[in-house]
């Protein structure tokens, strides 16, 4: 599954901040961890902030902290902020043909499975799985 860069950064930033909701990190700190430009990350953080998931100061040196509910927020909640909703993608050329329609149904199956997977994993579940020594982290 290919996610847009902004989506991956949104997931990284939300998860890094949710790891310790009491901690404040600047956009520059976060950008350094993920090796991306703080300008690019600042736009992503604004989107997360507008969704109520993080709260932050202004500018590259302003600090951000997680303000969402890590048990209730799922990976899909973050992905949906940056990607078109599954099933609501614009119709592609050729999809009105019989082959195009059949192919669209197969791609729709894949979208449904991907959405169910992303919707079933909370930030807390993913953070637990990322701990060294956890079964999911080592599998």
């Amino acid at each position: 599954m290919k996610l847009q860069t902004a989506t991956r950064l949104g997931l990284y930033a939300a998860l890094e901040l949710a790891r310790d909701p009491g901690r404040t990190l600047s956009a520059a700190d976060l950008a350094g961890r993920f090796d991306v430009s703080s300008h690019h990350l600042a736009k992503v953080l604004r989107t997360l902030s507008n969704a109520g998931l993080v709260r932050g100061g202004r500018g590259a040196s302003g600090g951000y902290r997680f303000t969402g509910n890590r048990r209730r927020t799922t990976l899909m909640d973050i992905v949906a902020l940056f990607e078109p909703a599954p099933g609501r993608r614009a119709r592609e050329p050729g999809e009105s043909t019989d082959i195009g329609g059949a192919l669209r149904r197969v791609l729709g199956e894949i979208d449904e499975i991907a959405e169910a997977t992303l919707r079933s994993i909370s930030l807390e579940t993913l953070l637990n799985a990322s701990r060294p020594g956890s079964a999911a982290a080592s599998s």
Binding site: T74, E112, I113, A116, S120, I121, S122, T125, A136
Partner: protein
């Protein structure tokens, strides 16, 4: 205080009532058959209930060890888990799941499996939080109408 114990025939009314509350479907005969097969049945079958200190049913789980299903080596299968909505977020499901896993481990299996409706985000999230991930099989359907 929560007690986990094997289900007994006397639990049938509470199990049927909880399932009706959660699914909106009355399936008394189905649960009676399941209880007859599992409660006091072969050692590879397990039907456990969680009971509150007041003796009320907080939830139940059913599963069994099956070998060579769908070409796979022996694994523990979870067939049903239901928790009273009033008892949710208290760890009842996790305790039932852990108790079932302990029984599976005692029988020597090292994998646990289940099937979940992919639109049932509540139960999917529960199993994910227990560390379950996508398995090696894909379930396929065909409309026969």
């Amino acid at each position: 205080m929560l007690a986990i114990r094997p289900a007994e025939p006397a639990d049938l009314p509470a199990i049927t009532a909880l399932d009706l509350k959660l699914t909106g479907e009355g399936k008394a005969v189905y649960w009676q058959t399941v209880l007859e097969r599992y409660a006091g049945g072969p050692p590879e079958r397990h039907f456990l209930v969680a009971e509150t200190a007041k003796g009320q049913l907080a939830g139940f789980i059913a599963g069994e060890v099956r070998a060579f299903e769908f070409g796979q080596p022996a694994a523990g299968w979870v067939f049903a888990i239901e928790i009273d909505p009033k008892q949710r977020l208290k760890g009842v499901g996790s305790k039932l799941f852990e108790a079932l896993l302990a029984r599976f481990r005692a029988q020597g299996v090292t994998r646990v499996r289940t099937l979940v409706d992919r639109k049932d985000h509540l139960i999917l999230s529960f199993f994910r939080a227990q560390g379950m991930v996508a398995g090696p099989s894909l379930q396929l359907d065909k409309d026969l109408s």
